[in-house]
Amino acid sequence: MSGFTGRQAPRKGENYELSVDLNSEYRDKRKDAIKRVIASMTVGKDVSGLFPDVLKNMQTEDLEQKKLVYLYLMNYAKTQPELVILAVNTFVKDAEDPNPLVRALAIRTMGCLRAEKIIDYLCDPLQKCLRDDDPYVRKTAALCVAKLYDLKPELVMDNGFLEQLKDMVSDPNPMVVANTIAALSDIHFASVAAGTDEALFTIDSSTLQKLLIALNECSEWGRVAILNALARYEAVDERESEHICERVVPQFQHANGSVVLAAIKAIMIHMRGVSGEQFRRTLVRKMAPPLVTLLSSPPEVQWVALRNINLLLQKEPGVLSNEMRVFFCKYNDPLYVKVEKLDIMVRLANEHNIDPLLSELKEYASEVDVDFVRKSVKAIGQAAIKIEEGAERCVNVLLDLIATRVSYVVQEAVVVMKDIFRKYPSQYEGIIPTLCANLDELDEPEAKASLIWIIGEYANKIDNADELLGIFVDTFMEESYPVQLQTLTSVVKLFLRKPETSQGLVQKVLNTATKDCDSPDVRDRAYIYWRLLSTDPGAAKAVILAHRPPISIPRTNVSPALLEELVSEMSTLASVYHKPAGTFIGQGRIGADSMQKREDASDDQFSAQKAFQTVAAGQQAENLLDFDDVPSDQPSGLAATQISTRIPAAANLIAGTSSNPLDDLVSIFGNLGAEQPIPNPASPPNIFGSPPAMQPQQQQNAFSGLGLGGAASPPQITSPPPQQAQKEEDLLGLF
């Protein structure tokens, strides 16, 4: 029976029996009892009451039993802090056991106990184990220092463990070096996270040599640790950067995918310091085969690889340019893999491979999974917008798909067609009748709104546009808000183009929208149109039928600064989520502050900030092609991001409350105003006299130039950054 009063188990039941057996005089019975205790622990039963009884069995020659007792201790040390102290003697004794396995086990377990009371007793044995003759013990002790730092950093500093670790980087055993590096990196990140400015582990050039030597000798996981440390090293000159790259490249041939990704990451970082174009190209070329091979891994690994490849392609678009076919989906791929592959296929699409891509996408569009089918149809649209030469073929495939009359395929195709019309205005008018023929089958708001937009846009070319729109006006009150808004706009467009036939219709829709509708957005928009139409039809025309810039697909879905950051974080969760670490890890301090710091240092200050906010608002690049014309759905954070790029006068005008369409209107007047240049002393003179279609980009550059005091990024005419498109979105939303 246990001698500890007050903590005694009741005299019956399972725990009582266990306690009797744990105190049995027979060794076998005791060991069996320990196993049963662990079994109970595993299924989640509380066996903490048996602590003293289990503890008695700690001193044993039987290694398996010892491990079990240690395991028990790790689990319950926190609940029984005052009793853990009883285990200390055995631990300290075990740490001097002749068997290295026992020494390592003791030091490893002590580090895991995480009980305040025991930590102070850890330092002496740890000191010895760090100098142990056996590398197995040393490699365990090295990590134990990191454990200690996690619990009580001052103990590590006071006992000189950190210096000792730094000396161990020169250990003759590669495994010890690898664990030492892992421990030092862990300590470094913990101290950075805690906000200390002092860099606890900086890698100098003598360390570098040791790392490069250990890299070729240590185990696969050790290589990952070393490569990650190499990625943090700042090369002194170009020659050293080249040297590091040359030494890291052989790791591409490693069978372990995380070694390959860590090697690619290290090279991507050190390649920045290399100017030789030839050398860079060779490196990038060598990356492709190992990346493709990662696609033969298990699906979860493939997915992580695909997410990283996606980033890499944004940074180095040429890296897999001939490899699109390897991304074709396999029938049995899990959905998450297929979706990533789709995205990458579109990235790799060009005028030479559009045909096989389209026939593949068409195949996917006939699969069973509705989600995947929709994404495939969307991908066809993205390909059409990306590759002008292939747009017609894309449209033909879409027509084939519409002919299948499968409801969700048709709806998605209609949405996609709307984007194609926005990119290539007036080119594919011939297919409008086909689209209109499917009007009855549309039941999703987005598809309906898209078709209504198309009808409104081409009202003067569709003979029975009034009839078609009339259907939606009749059911106006039953429709969802996005459809209502779009109906409203399209009817007004129709009226402006063909006033003679649609006077009644416009009256009716304005009446219904202002009187019966319960959405303030719809009501407000109707009022604005009404007043515009009644006061100045000319102005109404200028606003509602204004020319809009065509949409385009951005080459990247994150800002350049964020892309650099994510590439430096390759193979981590940040690179998998495509979000900076600050947005998903708990420690808020790292998040905003360090982001802010980096921005200050960065050239692309404003774009980084914007991208960060965009990401934080959960905005994805896909939205570019969404027909999101509901201002009220837009998170206000996004609206806020626009402010920083405008001149103060415009900023005041839109005042961050763009959920109100009135403000949207004002902001558009602001834009229109800029087209007939408003007095703006600081804007560069080239803004005058440029063709209107180019206006928004130029305008933005002018403004960003203002915001940054002249440090503007070069004009990106071909690939406007996401926020640009976002603005277009807003413009479109109103019309």
């Binding site: 060794r27 662990i38 079994a39 595993t42 039987d62 290694l63 491990k67 395991l71 396995l101 026992v102 490893r108 056996d134 590398p135 197995y136 490699k139 990590l143 990191a146 664990n179 862990d186 990140f189 070729n216 000798e217 240590c218 185990s219 696969e220 996981w221 640790a225 490249v249 790791q251 041939q253 490693h254 995918g257 995380s258 990704l261 860590a262 085969p289 190992p290 493709v292 091979t293 298990p298 979860e300 997915w303 690889a305 390897v326 074709f328 396999k330 029938y331 998450y336 096989p356 006939s366 699969e367 069973v368 193979s571 981590t572 969760l573 940040a574 998998v576 998903f584 890890i585 708990g586």
Partner: protein, 436 residues
């Protein structure tokens, strides 16, 4: 880096878990599956890694189990996911099968393995052969205590010293798996060859091995003209025993092998491959009554080779019934669980061609919304003594300081990969195959 690793059953109940760091409470394990279900309900896509309230969940599936790792930091996802796969591999090698029951029966040893394979969230030793040397199922109670094998921390961490064999032999298996996708028009859309060189090594001491292949890059760099064909491997991956820097320098494959069975290297070629076994099906679909298939299978390799254990999976509608088959060779079975029928041909000689017909009944009434999933035809096969790529082992040099002679044996085999599929011709209106 992982803070906690757990194995869960399909209901999300943890079977065993081990915490490596304190920052993620063990109770979060039970939130995993509800979160997955919630995401699926909201129409979000479930991915192997996701984040919720500052905790990152990284998981893989193995048969009826989830293996879950959790972390609070911006951790190395690739490393963690690959580690989980490695954990599965080790446990499978220990218990043959990894499932709920084998976990319950072996929890003690799994705890021991989890303790040894990861420390403070960093992966340590994951070589199952080395682990088996000091973590064993039989506990020798009063015998000498085991010690950590030197190999654990050695530069050669995969081989122990003092291995002795009476007869020194090495067996090399060169296995090529062909992945290929043929579209409905009969064109090859994608093809790749995944090759692997597997070794069974029964050698004494610490032998130094050098493997010579008909590698085009090496021939070119050494300036030799090859007799016969040289192959261009697009990407080569090696077991950690191979000295990568030497391969990078002069394409020499040199290594000290682990003992016993292991995969020395794998390679990939994306040269276009003609389908070795060609299958096409004409489908006549009579809605509401029956569906008929005519399947043609053709061996498109040389006459002197033979494909063994050919299995052709032809998909049929889920609700097909009363199957009738007639085949000019082999046997046919209906596999309703896979919604397919399987045509099995024990031996298919090169350049031969065979036909089979199948007839199924269909229910007369069908739900409106049902869409036919258009699964492709899948083929399984094995062709011994043959490689598609033409890879050849030119030599295997074995040097050990005791100077023994050892014999290498080489075997070649080509088989289907995990995705050898041919898309069926569109059902209606396609011209029926004319019988031979």
């Amino acid at each position: 880096m992982a803070s906690l690793i757990a194995i869960l059953d399909l209901k999300g109940k943890p079977l065993i878990q081990r915490s490596y760091r304190d920052d993620v409470p063990a109770t979060y394990v039970e939130r995993f599956l509800p979160l997955c279900l919630e995401m699926e309900e909201e129409g979000q896509q479930l991915t192997p890694c996701f984040s919720n309230q500052g905790i990152n969940y990284m998981h893989i599936r193995h048969s009826n189990l989830y293996l879950l790792a959790m972390s609070k930091r911006n951790t190395n996802a690739a490393e963690v996911i690959i580690f989980l796969h490695r954990l599965v591999q080790v446990l499978v090698e220990y218990f043959k099968e990894l499932e709920e029951e084998s976990i319950r029966d072996n929890f003690v040893i799994i705890y021991e393995l989890m303790d040894e394979m990861m420390d403070f969230g960093y992966p340590q030793t994951t070589e199952s052969k080395i682990l088996q040397e000091y973590i064993t199922q039989e506990s020798y109670k009063l015998e000498v205590q085991v010690r950590p094998p030197i190999a654990v921390t050695n530069a050669v961490s995969w081989r122990s010293e003092g291995i002795r064999y009476r007869k020194n032999e090495v067996f090399l298996d060169v296995i090529e798996s062909v992945n290929l996708l043929v579209n409905a028009n009969g064109n090859v859309v994608r093809s790749e060859i995944l090759g692997a060189v597997k070794m069974k090594c029964y050698l004494s001491g610490m032998p130094e091995l050098r493997l010579g292949l008909n590698d085009k890059v090496m021939f070119e760099s050494t300036g030799r003209t090859s007799r016969g064909k040289a192959i261009e491997m697009e990407d080569v991956k090696f077991h950690q025993c191979v000295r990568l820097s030497r391969f990078e320098n002069d394409r020499t494959i040199s290594f000290i092998p682990p003992d016993g069975e292991f995969e020395l290297m794998s390679y990939r070629l994306s040269t276009p491959v003609k389908p070795l076994i060609w299958v096409e099906a004409a489908v006549e679909y009579h809605k509401g009554s029956r569906v008929e298939y005519m399947v043609k299978c053709k061996a498109q390799f040389k006459r002197r080779s033979t494909a063994n254990n050919v299995e052709i999976f032809v998909p049929v509608p889920d609700d097909a019934d009363s199957p009738k088959f007639r085949a000019s060779t082999g046997s046919v079975q209906y596999a309703p669980d896979k919604s397919a029928f399987v045509w099995k041909i024990k031996q298919l000689a090169g350049s031969r061609e065979f036909l089979m017909r199948a007839h199924f009944g269909l229910p007369s009434v069908r739900g409106e919304q049902e869409v036919d999933k258009r699964a492709p035809i899948m083929v399984k096969f094995e062709i011994p003594y043959f490689t598609v790529s033409g890879i050849q082992v030119r030599y295997l040099k074995i040097v050990e300081k005791s100077g023994y002679q050892a014999l290498p044996w080489v075997r070649y085999i080509t088989q289907n990969g995990d995705d050898y599929s041919l898309r069926t011709a569109a059902e209606k209106g396609s011209a029926p195959i004319v019988p031979m």
